[in-house]
């Protein structure tokens, strides 16, 4: 029998996924705190460990790992851009170990190390975002923001934006189907052509999104929402729906661990240089 699935921003997770037990604020805290890790950690080995941790979390959350295939071009192109940029435009400083000279371009060991370091940071960060978007529903984001007592207009704009992302993703898949109906077979193309092809989707996705945005703005007016403008009246907005979620001990424990890890990274880096590329506790990894 088919499992009951719930739509998330990037796909589906089973209704009984452990992630469904968490408060939205825990998921948002995860994004904000964990995405800071690769910014602070320079050691590629540790970032690789972080990436493995993300894969384990995806598995534990019952996210279908096959969805990662969809992002392989994004990741490959990201790595390619970083490597090309550092290799050919990384610059030169006295003391660099020269590997190869190509006319005025100097390819150095240090630039290649920076390329690997940056690529690993970005890939880890991308996996954090994939995990977050694969396990959260748009309304959880709004609930999380409202829980933080952010102004209503901020929550509304965030909600509408995330809903627009979800709807645009559906449009994107429909457009892919429409291209198939016109004998276009993405799977037969070489990788660079595939990447180029994704650019082509932008036109119809934006055209449809713009038309829809117009409708939403009319609906907002028709329902008496006024954010600013000349014709405004001062009304104290009632916050009828506060939250249907309750913070549990598990949520507090997870947020505490994530904050502790962040503090450890900041302190370890500042006082002991653990997470720098060289001279660190983990330098053997590079």
């Amino acid at each position: 029998m088919a499992k009951k699935m719930m739509r998330t921003l990037l796909g589906y997770i089973p209704a009984n996924s452990p992630m469904q037990k968490l408060h939205p604020i825990t998921k948002i805290a995860f994004l904000l705190l964990v995405s800071a890790y690769p910014l602070l950690v320079n050691t590629p080995g540790l970032n690789a460990l972080g990436l493995v941790a993300m894969l384990i979390l995806l598995q534990v959350s019952n996210v279908e790992l096959s969805i990662l295939k969809q992002y392989r071009y994004l990741i490959v192109s990201l790595i390619a851009v970083v490597i090309v940029a550092y290799t050919f435009a990384g610059g030169y400083a006295p003391g660099y170990t020269i590997l190869y000279r190509l006319g005025p371009v100097i390819i150095s060991l240090q630039n290649e190390i920076f390329a690997v370091v940056t690529a690993m940071k970005l890939v880890f960060a991308v996996f954090v975002i994939i995990f977050f978007l694969s396990t959260i529903r748009e309304r959880e984001i709004v609930q999380g923001l409202r829980f933080l007592k952010l102004p209503y207009s901020v929550c509304l704009v965030a909600g509408l934006s995330f809903r627009a992302i979800g709807v645009s993703l559906i449009d994107f898949f429909t457009i892919q189907e429409a291209q198939k109906a016109r004998a276009f077979d993405l799977s037969t193309l070489p990788i660079m052509e595939k990447i180029k092809q994704y650019g082509m989707y932008v036109v119809p996705v934006f055209a449809v999104a713009l038309r829809r945005a117009e409708d939403v703005s009319l609906a907002l007016d028709a329902r008496g929402f006024v954010m600013f403008g000349r014709k405004t009246v001062k009304t104290n907005r009632t916050d009828y729906i506060l939250s249907e979620y309750k913070i549990k001990a598990l949520d507090i424990a997870i947020i505490a661990i994530l904050i502790a890890l962040l503090v450890l990274i900041v302190m370890g880096d500042y006082y002991f240089g653990w997470f720098r590329i060289t001279g660190s506790l983990t330098s053997f990894l590079i």
Binding site: A2, K3, K4, M5, R7, G11, Y12, E64, E138, R139, V142, L156, G159, L160, R163, D171, T174, I175, E177, A178, Q179, K180, A181, R182, A183, F184, D185, S187, T188, M200, Y201, V203, P204, A207, V208, R211, R212, D215, V216, S217, L218, A219, L220, D221, A222, R223, G224, F225, V226, K231, T232, V233, T235, N236, R237, T238, D239, Y240, I241, E244
Partner: protein, 571 residues
């Protein structure tokens, strides 16, 4: 008699959108009294939506254009009023239920306007319960996401969210235009309940009038931005055939009644509902003779029964979210057939069509096209034989010019440039796109033209089979008729036409075969006449045939009737 006061007043109102040359509304002078139910009729682009948007201040306060004259809502000039004030006076329901949802749950959606107005929480709570009752939705739905509901339920939520504000005026812009027949009936029942139970002033723009005639106090006809008729329904629909020339498709029972009236078989005045006409017909039945009805002609068939073009064998399909969309579907279609796939939203009809076109691959089973098993073939091999036209043209336009757009498919098929040029020209001719449009950007065209470009793009690939998804949704009668006549012409030229539709009038007029899908299974498959006469089976699948099929039941001793022309002739 209670005097009804004017609640809406248009004084010399004209409106021109900034980007248009001509005025969309031209010197409108009319008023609507408290408690009236007004139906707004007219072809697309006649100015119906603009007229309605004048009532809640979107025109002139949000949309860009020039307005002359003034609109007074309960004495307030809309030009000087803010939306918070106007939204308390006018509840506005848009045509597309999804485009008006702003929040994540039904409860939040209904609470939204009341939160904006700053109503106390306890009152919001009470009004949510009341609104859910008015639109006949269970309270369990409050925690659901609006976009997870069926079309009819979505529109009922949209109505609940505006009536919760208890506005004295309810404005509905083609509220049933985008939903299936059951959803339409649900929404019209709700509107009828609101009218009876709350005595709101209701203004509704619609293309189909079957259920509205009885509710309406007045019907306004708007053409080219001008109100050309303002009559009670009995007078407005007195001469239904003449209305067709104004781009209005009158109710089927109205056309049939007029035919019998002209033959002196039923007495005037005209009926305002199907039920009223059926009871008149019951009394007239003993007097009706076979000679009173036209000679029954079978619809011409271009089917080549010896050649199967599509076969689905033991097809099962499950979506990534785990929804089993199809269970063991078996189906054969011959070359030259014109058939309809009908069923409620979510029944699996679009999935079947996408499997035929190779857009989806079955979880189990085989797809055979023109004798070749294409189950695992690449899309290119299938698309040259089976063309699929999506409901929304914006989903299938990718290129910068119409020329590039129509060439896109043939290029993917590897056709040489000379042949592509010929095909572009021919497809444009068939669809009536002028050659001067060749280098135009398809995105700047109107929806009707974009739809034509989408059809031309598929035709240029030279498919034998054309599958078209909901060709009449959101179209008025003249536009729908153009598309359907065009499909009929393609069928005459040997194309197999498969239409996914909710429009039973269309099925009755053009299709020879109908397939009914319910919960992932084909439950009925036969000629349209047989399928529409299988009343019990259709009821079990929540499908309601067109009015003529129901009238035809009364006349069954003379034959099987499903389209208006079957009874009144094609003259």
């Amino acid at each position: 008699m209670i005097r009804m006061d004017e609640i809406i007043k248009f004084e010399n109102v004209s409106w021109k959108y900034l980007e248009r040359v001509n005025k969309t509304l031209n010197n409108i002078n009319t008023s609507i009294r408290k408690g009236e139910f007004v139906v707004l009729a007219g072809p697309n682009d006649a100015g119906k939506t603009s007229l309605l948007m004048c009532m809640n201040g979107i025109i002139p306060n949000t949309l860009r254009g020039v307005m002359e004259g003034k609109v007074l809502i309960d004495g307030i000039n809309t030009k000087d009023a803010d939306f918070a004030t106007l939204s308390k006076k006018v509840g506005y329901v848009f045509s597309d239920p999804e485009s008006q949802f702003l929040t994540m749950t039904v409860e939040e959606e209904i609470a939204y306007s009341m939160e904006n107005a700053g109503l106390p929480r306890s009152e919001i709570h009470d009004r949510i319960d009341w609104a859910m009752k008015m639109v006949d939705l269970p309270l369990e739905f409050l925690s659901k996401a609006p976009y997870e509901l069926s079309g009819g339920q979505k529109q009922r939520v949209a109505i609940a969210s505006v009536i919760a504000m208890r506005p004295p005026i309810l404005v509905l812009d083609e509220p049933t235009g985008q939903i299936d027949p059951i959803g339409k009936a649900e929404v019209l029942d709700v509107i009828s309940n609101i009218k009876r139970g709350y005595d709101m002033t209701v203004i509704i723009a619609e293309h189909r009038f079957d259920r509205l005639m009885k509710l309406a106090d007045r019907v306004l006809l708007i053409e080219g931005g001008v109100i050309t008729r303002d009559l009670p329904p009995k007078e407005f629909f007195e001469n239904p055939r003449e209305l067709i020339s104004h781009g209005i498709y009158p109710p089927e029972f109205n056309l049939i009644e007029k035919y019998f009236m002209d033959k002196k078989l039923v007495d005037p005045p005209i009926s305002l509902s199907l039920e009223e006409f059926l009871s008149k017909l019951d009394k007239a039945l003993p007097r009706i003779k076979e000679s009173d009805l036209p000679h029954q002609e079978e619809r011409p068939s271009y089917e080549d029964a010896s050649r199967r073009i599509i076969e689905l064998k033991g097809i099962k399909f499950t979506y990534p979210d785990g929804t089993q969309a199809l269970e063991e579907v078996n189906l054969s279609i011959n070359r030259g057939e014109f058939l309809a796939i009908i069923g409620q939203n979510g029944s699996g009809k679009t999935t079947i069509a996408k499997l035929m076109a190779g857009i989806l691959k079955p979880t189990e089973g085989k797809v055979v096209i023109d004798g070749v098993d294409v189950t695992h073939e690449r899309i290119g091999k299938i698309a040259s034989n089976v063309g699929y036209i999506f409901q929304n043209p914006d989903h299938q336009l990718f290129e910068q010019t119409i020329n590039q757009e129509i060439s896109y498919g043939p290029k993917n098929l590897g056709i040489d440039p000379g042949e592509i040029e010929k095909r572009v020209k021919t497809s444009m001719e068939i669809t009536g796109i002028p050659p001067t449009y060749l280098e135009e950007n398809p995105f700047i065209l109107s929806k009707g033209w974009r739809q034509k470009v989408a059809i031309a793009s598929i035709l240029a690939m030279g498919p034998n089979v054309i599958i078209i998804d909901e060709p009449t949704t959101g179209q008025d009668f003249p536009q729908a008729d153009v598309i359907l006549q065009f499909l009929s012409g393609l069928n005459k030229n040997g194309h197999t036409i498969i239409v996914i539709t909710h429009d039973m009038t269309f099925v009755a007029r053009f299709c020879r075969r109908a397939i009914v899908v319910n919960r992932g299974k084909i439950v009925l498959d036969g000629t349209v006449k047989d399928v529409f006469n299988a009343t019990e089976e259709l009821e079990a699948t929540n499908i309601k045939p067109n009015d003529t099929a129901l009238i035809g039941k009364k006349l069954q001793r003379f034959g099987k009737f499903v389209s208006v022309n079957d009874i009144v002739g094609s003259g």
